[in-house]
């Protein structure tokens, strides 16, 4: 593969894999708590960080991380305390962050919105050695949190009120989710860009849902899709000379559409398999009148709600 001979492509592909893993891994919790667009908000806020990085001539990646973390914590605090008009406060944060980024980058010496563009939409050739190091460290943190605390994060994202009664530190876990999402946004920034990050957090999860019934399977499928589309998109972007972020996102949406089209026949097949497995008596899917089924001479039994124990699955 000649593509691997270029150092910048090696870096880009490594970054792409890490983004493919982390974005859906965090995104699944955001989707679960019905805050699918939180990643988008953080992406906007992170623009101010990029601008600050240029202005102070420090690494835009680390600066964006710092500002995104602050922004995500602010969003979480607004969610707790700002019951009234929380959406307005969030909107101000989003657009303030975006405007701040554009303003700061114009104030930076020699800066122009052209510099910003590679952060907004992603770019392969500009992923530097330092970026890759930062991305590796941050991605490791994200994986540690999203996998290591999956049961706790699942419980809090599924039902916050109930999670409180299991003694979980709900606020700390919410903050951790927000911070992890912020970190993921900056991990993904160089490859897909700040404006498209959220798509990679949400769409693979939505696509995975078409196939799965369990959270664990959704997680695994979403990460698989994430890695597939980031790698595929990066390679396509190299050979066709098209922007990587847009390629990856369009590819993800294509996967979503394909899986959605596949899901219906698959579900039907599964339902048939279940019907065949549970019994095998003729016409299991048809309605049978109780008179026809009742044996002669036996008193009518109240319909048992429970299935006989023999049919219960063995403990996993």
């Amino acid at each position: 593969m000649e593509i691997l001979n270029y150092a910048f492509m090696q870096r880009a592909l490594l970054a792409a894999v890490l983004v493919g893993i982390t974005a859906p891994a965090v995104g699944i919790y955001l989707v679960q708590r019905r805050q699918a667009l939180m990643g988008d908000g953080i992406g906007h806020v992170a623009m101010t960080g990029v601008g600050l990085g240029f202005l102070l001539s420090t690494s835009p990646v680390w600066m964006a991380t710092a500002v995104a973390v602050v922004g995500s914590v602010l969003m979480e605090l607004i969610r707790w305390y700002g019951r009234t008009r929380g959406d307005i406060a969030l909107a101000m944060l989003f657009y303030g962050g975006m405007a701040g980024g554009v303003m700061l980058i114009n104030l930076a010496p020699g800066g122009s919105n052209a510099n910003l563009s590679s952060y907004l939409f992603g770019s392969l050739s500009t992923v530097s050695q330092g970026d890759v190091l930062a991305i590796c460290v941050l991605a490791a943190l994200v994986v540690l949190v999203t996998l290591g605390l999956r049961r706790q994060l699942f419980a809090v994202s599924q039902d916050e009120e109930f999670a409180r009664v299991t003694g979980l530190p709900v606020r700390a876990l919410n903050l951790l989710t927000a911070i992890t999402a912020a970190v993921t946004v900056t991990v993904a920034m160089r490859v897909v860009g700040l404006l498209l990050v959220s798509a990679l957090m949400v769409v693979p999860v939505a696509a995975a849902q078409q196939l799965s019934r369990s959270f664990a399977a959704t997680f695994a499928i979403a990460v698989t899709i994430g890695v597939g589309v980031t790698l595929g998109g990066t390679v396509t972007s190299y050979y066709q000379d098209v922007p990587p972020g847009a390629t990856i996102v369009l590819l993800t949406i294509a996967v979503f559409i394909a899986l959605t089209a596949l899901a219906t026949p698959l579900a039907r097949r599964r339902a048939r398999a279940v019907a065949a497995a549970t019994g095998g008596e003729a016409g299991a899917t048809d309605c049978v009148l109780p008179e026809a089924a009742a044996g002669a001479g036996t008193a009518p039994q109240p319909a048992p709600e429970k299935v006989p124990d023999s049919r219960t699955p063995a403990p996993r």
Partner: protein, 262 residues
């Protein structure tokens, strides 16, 4: 079901004294007293919007109180950490979140309070299975909760509360949308729990098959306790929205217009 630290068995499991709470700067609880003794089954009744859920949510710390005292197992709520002893069924119409999850996955989250660092061992998985069997959902264990009916969602929520094998069950309208046959099943489950020494605080609109289990009823109206004593007879009829309530046990048998309170 054993006490983890020595405590006075005469202590009530739940004790609210003069609790007030505001939601959106509007007083919702205006000084309520509520006690659940060990082994007791207490029903919390009242019209829509009378503050039942809010009262329950102050106990678990979901709603901040502005006055009064709350104790759980004799410990002030702020210092109470032993949440594995409490099972909670929130008022919900669904157990589903934004991502598919199996019945087992949802019920397992109820076991987290007993699992160290979120690691579920064999004993934990068995407890989850028992909880599912209690509500008759064993055969749906591997199905997605998104594919359940309303009453089945309710059963999953109850199983989740039972998974930690709690000594105290707090249930907010656990029978909403559950058919009569399943209510009987759940009543039997509850009877077992009580026989094993559990205490129960239940928010209900109709006593239904649970009636024989209930030791005491507390009726809220507009954020105040208007009755605390034996369960009102035939509350099921009276709980219908828009009906005039006459509680035979209150001295001033004043009609409660449920329709005007929400």
């Amino acid at each position: 079901m054993k006490a983890i630290r020595p405590e006075n068995p005469a202590d009530p499991v739940i004790s609210l004294r003069g609790v007030t709470a505001e939601l959106g700067s509007r007083p919702v609880l205006r000084g309520i007293d509520l006690t659940v003794h060990r082994g007791e089954v207490v029903a919390l009744l009242g019209a829509n919007g009378s503050g039942k859920s809010t009262a329950v949510r102050t106990v678990i710390g979901q709603v901040p109180v502005s006055g009064g005292e709350i104790e759980i197992f004799g410990t002030p709520r702020r210092r109470f950490r032993d949440w594995a002893r409490v099972g909670y069924v929130p008022q919900r119409t669904t157990a589903a979140g934004g991502v598919p999850a199996t019945v087992t996955e949802v019920v397992s989250s109820g076991r987290l309070s007993r699992a160290r660092f979120g690691v579920l061992r064999k004993a934990d998985r068995e407890a989850v299975h028992r909880a599912l069997a209690h509500v008759g959902m064993t055969d749906r264990a591997k199905d997605s909760v998104n594919a359940l009916s309303g009453g089945q969602h309710q059963r999953v929520l109850i199983a989740r509360a039972l998974a930690s094998e709690p000594e105290l069950l707090i249930m907010d309208e656990p029978m909403a949308g559950v058919d009569l046959a399943s209510q009987e099943v759940l009543a039997a489950t509850l009877r077992e729990q009580v026989a094993a020494g559990a205490s129960v605080l239940l928010v209900l609109h109709e006593l239904g098959p649970l009636e024989p289990l209930i030791d005491r009823a507390v009726v809220l109206r507009d954020g105040c306790v208007v009755h605390d004593g034996p369960p009102p007879a035939a509350v099921g009829q009276h709980a219908l929205p828009g009906h005039d309530h006459v509680h035979p046990h209150t001295a001033d048998a004043e009609p409660v217009r449920t329709g005007l309170l929400s």
